[in-house]
Symmetry: D2
Subunit: 337 residues, 4 copies
Amino acid sequence: MIIVLKPKTTKNDIESIISFLKQYNVSSDVSKGVDTTIIGLVGDTSSVNSEALQTNPHVERVMIVTEPFKKSNRKFHPQNSVIDVSGAKVGGKSLAVIAGPCSVESEEQICSIAHDVKASGATFLRGGAFKPRTSPYSFQGLEVQGLELLKKAKAQTGLPIVTEIMSPRFVEHFERDVDVIQIGARNMQNFDLLKEVGKTKKPILLKRGLSSTIEEWLMSAEYIMAGGNPNVILCERGIRTFETQTRNTLDISAIPVIKRLSHLPIIVDPSHATGISHLVEPLAKASIAAGADGVIIEVHNNPACAMCDGPQSITPAVFDQLMKKIAAYAAIDGRKV
Amino acid sequence: MIIVLKPKTTKNDIESIISFLKQYNVSSDVSKGVDTTIIGLVGDTSSVNSEALQTNPHVERVMIVTEPFKKSNRKFHPQNSVIDVSGAKVGGKSLAVIAGPCSVESEEQICSIAHDVKASGATFLRGGAFKPRTSPYSFQGLEVQGLELLKKAKAQTGLPIVTEIMSPRFVEHFERDVDVIQIGARNMQNFDLLKEVGKTKKPILLKRGLSSTIEEWLMSAEYIMAGGNPNVILCERGIRTFETQTRNTLDISAIPVIKRLSHLPIIVDPSHATGISHLVEPLAKASIAAGADGVIIEVHNNPACAMCDGPQSITPAVFDQLMKKIAAYAAIDGRKV
Amino acid sequence: MIIVLKPKTTKNDIESIISFLKQYNVSSDVSKGVDTTIIGLVGDTSSVNSEALQTNPHVERVMIVTEPFKKSNRKFHPQNSVIDVSGAKVGGKSLAVIAGPCSVESEEQICSIAHDVKASGATFLRGGAFKPRTSPYSFQGLEVQGLELLKKAKAQTGLPIVTEIMSPRFVEHFERDVDVIQIGARNMQNFDLLKEVGKTKKPILLKRGLSSTIEEWLMSAEYIMAGGNPNVILCERGIRTFETQTRNTLDISAIPVIKRLSHLPIIVDPSHATGISHLVEPLAKASIAAGADGVIIEVHNNPACAMCDGPQSITPAVFDQLMKKIAAYAAIDGRKV
Amino acid sequence: MIIVLKPKTTKNDIESIISFLKQYNVSSDVSKGVDTTIIGLVGDTSSVNSEALQTNPHVERVMIVTEPFKKSNRKFHPQNSVIDVSGAKVGGKSLAVIAGPCSVESEEQICSIAHDVKASGATFLRGGAFKPRTSPYSFQGLEVQGLELLKKAKAQTGLPIVTEIMSPRFVEHFERDVDVIQIGARNMQNFDLLKEVGKTKKPILLKRGLSSTIEEWLMSAEYIMAGGNPNVILCERGIRTFETQTRNTLDISAIPVIKRLSHLPIIVDPSHATGISHLVEPLAKASIAAGADGVIIEVHNNPACAMCDGPQSITPAVFDQLMKKIAAYAAIDGRKV
């Protein structure tokens, strides 16, 4: 931690700050410049109340040097984490491809799509049972009945299930019935929910919040990991910007940035990032090229009748073509689907 | 709802869209231009699946004309809503001034601040018991014990309590013990929590999410109101932008925009919007000048030792001066504290 | 300047960095922590190539402590700058009120508006002769003829003229004919133009770019001042964010932030910030309450027929009411119009 | 164009709007709904003053249906434009690879880099002679002398030159000496400069402004094309968002969005988009995968001593590896370098 002092801070004032810092069991190193004096704190600064320091009238700025994320930090865990999901791996040589409809609508729908995406090479089935909708008047999902239909699709195809949780009351239920618990973008900083899923050992798919920095996102992963659950898969799904041609702006740079900062696997959701079906293929390809560990893609057998997110869903036929492209791209970097 | 068709859509294709629309019990009005044909839907369009329409290969764009918020919409409720909080009113002639520390830290601290802010004219006491912190390693609040201390401060001063809820498990507890339940910015789209507080009749202080549009914010109010609780107070607290001199960017325009769109009261939190104590006074004054129904301000007796948010807290003495300024500004527009 | 080194940087590597730094004639202060070593540079660091340092494989981060703006910095010029515009003052006790139409359209229009706004108390006349339009097919202004009409309006009313320049070719012409040269938001980083107006002594109204940070804005002022022209008036006019209810988001916090960082006067343009006429009054009031030195407001005698920006223009009658409100707000803080 | 009226607009008011519209020589189609009446304008609406309409007290909203860009619009020019640059093609089967240093620093530097990048397969040489710098105190480029050095490098290698113009005074000079004139991000809406380069026939590399929407970007291309110069190459180089891990956020979606909206070629600048050298490779690969027509990459023989942008420059050796990857990716989609 670095404390930049205001010009003209007196020797006495500097000494009183240094003696205040002694309570934290760190030592202080003073660099006196022409205009500016800097105090460098040496030792374990994690307990230092930087906000309190900031209120000192002689302090111009407090700069935190150490990254605040620990368990998700690559510095302390140099090799990639590979998450085991009911036998399938996320984060290793093989790419994860999670496919399925936005919402589970009926047994026929979810099972038919599950068969189709499996035939094309998908490795996981997605499908929403509890749906976070902006409007209370929109379809909210089939809820528990939706989970039952996902289990039927899994029984028929063997595909592990990825689905979103919205309430801490359902953690036990999800722990029993699903393979990957998804935390949606809007709940990325629902700390109550993060703490609850942190008590399980289930793999958690943690979507990035629409306006969350990469550091905040890793801090949310940290909530889950600090609770005892190391199985976190990150999912970039677009951030909110001023551009209106796409629903969100896919932050493609987040992939290599995360790979440098963290050992956790990262996948990309091109369907939600753009909200437009014809953009799914180019962005899925770009994500793999940028180093993502997989993609999550909305596939619907009849987008024109989908109960939600039809405009961003692709058909099983288009998905089948996309899988071939993804495999070719992956091969260049020594990976496979 | 307006459906803009692609150039060269044939008469047959137009007719098939119109017959598809008949299922929604609306009538269609076709305007044929040189390049572009437009279908205007007339009638109650709220049940029309606009996303499904968007997937139609002949549709260029679907434009929604009607505002999606109903119960919070001024069109259907032209007079201002005035919320009754244990006898005090929010949204009428008198401004609401909510003051207190970021976190409840001790009985002495909260009671001392409560006495101070009351003496200066505050009408509500704020104080965090459950704290949403970016890091799992930061102080998380005194939790239930914090609520008990707030009740003591209320017993001594008579100030109604405003405090944040983070989990649906505590709704009953808050309903019994506090006067206004705050939903924090990070939980603005925690729909599970919104539905739960919508089942109570408690006044809800709904903070705007960091990257939420005004429309999304009103839709979150709609979740609470649709559940049966009309007592929603909106709180603007800054949005996330590229500017780094302030923690967030206070969206001052949101005040008159909300006043036009909705009948709900709106207050402003200049402390969280900027994160810097010397900006609290100018922004509090600006908020009142722009038409806000009140302000919520962090006051701490010793900001340098605050367990959180010290840099944005002002002292009781500064708060006292601020109250005098606010009163003068309010008087110009015929309001009072 | 502070250089944060990567963990495990050896003593030899540190020494080679320090000897590299000697070329800049600064001394280095090394603080060795448990994980992290920090080098503080002491002396005049303005010539140090921080980008080159950043490429050193042992350097984790370079943090610049000193603010890069010098001539506009309040640290080196503690008292407010008051700019003299043909006898009128901007930045002192009296507020500047600049009013007039978006575009000069005809002699009758500009003279009639000039008389009206003067009667209500405006102290400057604005009016666009050269118009920056997003589309090449939109009305581009009356250009030189527009300047002539502005001069007639000035001859009749005595109001000094504020108008925008778009090309360095016209600097001499503007220097002769107008009282304040406006640099528009889109040209805030048109460095060629900034250098040219920096060679004159004319007061420059420097609008903030739509996505410019406050620091970048002050650096653009620095371009003008470094050229020899100290007469810069800053103008906040909204930044670009995700919110779509208003055209831009007025960054009201920029006013007190600028007042702390710089000695230059700052005014606000609520008309362009929002694009909506009914928001002009509340935001003009809020700007004065937040400490602005004035406002610039679009007034048109017939907004429904304005050749541009009609939706954000107010009528002379509404402007007259607004002036009364502004005067009342200003009086509270000991200022006047 | 669609005009949405306010609820309760009377028949008389509607008729007066319709008669007002007759001056524009368009016909009006009225759809009367339960709450809302809509007027659809049919015919050539480009001359209708939509802002004036917006000020009508009975008008709720005016929605523009037609895209405002004409010459750059794919609707009116369905096949891809291929730009001829001194014999080389941009926008066809072959990818354009533009490489070179941020700034031209010396003859030895620019010629050495030119030879290196040519040997690795680059097809154009970039290098800044006039540099847009945030600070007036930073190195501003070698200016005209820099252009002379670029010409020497071209004479030695045959690589066409791409370099940035900052002032309309130099258009003639650039027209004579360079192969592609670059308009930088900060000048994307410097309309004076756009008009000047629109009078030439030189290929123009038009960078996207940091906070420009895709539509505004195409409108700036329109300025150049409307002036008579159809040779515009678009360049995505990152937009400004709240994320601070990268200097800007590369908007990878802009590539397929532009491909759908426009016939102009689009290339990507991963160096400026991120500002970090180790992100250049993954983002260059992602750009090609997303369908870009090329990349522009900063290469410096000694990044640690570069006079600007060292941290984002890669060495010739790293560039050589990158070219091999790009070629492999391009081959999958039937393209080549």
